[in-house]
Point group: C3
Chain length 207, copies 3
């Protein structure tokens, strides 16, 4: 892959994940150390859970200074300029959607490198993209938003399935990656605009 | 081991764990994706935590299509026929108790293969049998039921201790496994019938 | 290292962590099995998370009978003599502060052995010292105290930074370790006496 393009998306995605974690922590009145932890947990939680399940240890971010600093800066900016940052809500949402797309593809590729089947690969992509948020919510003592939110995990799954199909149809990895990111991005955009959620299935109360 | 017999129990146990997870998710009004996640977490959580602690990675279910499909089908059946499935409550309880027994034995055997002492082996059996439920409760933002429920973990421990004793007394692994499963099964049966719980120890309020 | 001195601190630290976990469980009215689990989670949680992230598996305590028994005894004493033990509150607090210091240093040394940078090493020290408590709070369905408490993680970080500096200045590992433990100990002492907390940063409510 060209480092330039994908690295940029990865940095922006990591940054927006870290900011989202820091905001959630501040809304729950955590102290600055808690804000830092939540920024880290949100930004690297998904990849960490994936790497632990696969056994690809030590986890990557222990060895990557870039990730460390991007998250630290994201957390500090949120701490000191949070009110101001709120004005860039929409931009952060865009970064988040792109990050979700890229992280999903990264997870799938890790799965393929380890020789897993396509279903498991898509699952690893979803874990990479979504489980940082799950970890954040568990630490904040909330039922994970992911389980109730507008099409989020599903966007990752749709993008992942297309990524695998495009590869199968003979497309270049780079083109497939970009297409998958766009699909995830557009799916998120549409879901949030139209406030789409998955239908709920309730148990009938015994009458 | 004869694949036929134990594989059947494993499938039934996994199925009933997945159904229990899916039910818990639906009662908490999660969306279908959340239901799926909770089914997976409940069914494979225990074995996953055990394999991570031991370092036996990638975790087994990443490589087992059977487990994947059993859980997926369990979750889908619960989603669409949940109200109907409730009628088979008792049957699911039997499956769960058998699964608890078998999973405990599997955990112990993994511990023995890794050369751990008997106390640690029994602990690994209990982790395998019980910690999927703990993970489910943490994700649903509840204090784990296990910590308050009728003799559940204790059934696993009793079965595990007997399993090790039977092996020491020279019994065949297969016979010991079946005996341990029966012990766990009966312990659970009796505990639920008689509503047995462990006694609580409270701190005296400073008065 | 001289086994005598550091092993003693490790045992006292593990013991006080286990007691703290058991107390928290009893205050939440868990049954004896839950009390046991919480004692274990609090005492070994930090080191376990560290070893999983690094990939140093199986985790140490699976192979250490000493740790197992110290925790078990700590949990049982708390169960049966909890009210009496409360009188030794201050002593347990001292053990806890010393344990925090030693565990932080142990985590940093593991990081150095794995060739990580100084920032990551300090982080691993903090994870070792503090994340057992985080795990305990997650299991008890509370927002981790660590994120709101008087200078706790910060004490670990300060001690860790000094430890690395002292090594760099050419001091013996043993001397550096003892100094770092004293620094953590004193920081905790002062923080609790003066009820120091990190300042909170709140988001301005949109007016």
């Amino acid at each position: 892959m060209t480092p330039g393009f994908f690295t940029t998306i990865e940095i922006l995605g990591t940054f927006s994940f870290a900011v989202a974690g820091a905001f959630a922590a501040m809304e729950n009145r955590l102290d600055p150390f808690g804000v830092l932890i939540l920024a880290f947990a949100t930004a690297i939680g998904g990849g960490t859970i994936r790497d632990i399940l696969i056994g690809d240890l030590p986890v990557v971010w222990l060895q990557s200074n870039l990730t460390f600093w991007v998250i630290l800066i994201g957390a500090l900016i949120t701490l000191f300029f949070g009110t101001y940052l709120k004005k860039f809500d929409r931009m952060l949402f865009y970064f988040d959607a792109m990050g979700l797309g890229l992280f999903s593809v990264i997870g799938i590729q890790k799965g393929m490198l380890n020789g897993f089947g396509p279903g498991i690969c898509v699952m690893l992509g979803t874990i990479t993209g979504c489980f940082g948020g799950v970890l954040r919510d568990v630490l904040l003592n909330n039922v994970p938003l992911l389980f109730r939110k507008e099409i989020y995990a599903l966007a990752s799954i749709i993008g992942g399935v297309f990524f695998l199909l495009l590869l199968k149809w003979g497309l270049d990895t780079k083109v497939a990656t970009i297409t998958a990111i766009i699909i995830v991005f557009v799916t998120r955009m549409v879901a949030v605009r139209l406030k789409l959620s998955l239908p709920l299935f309730y148990l009938k109360k015994p009458g």
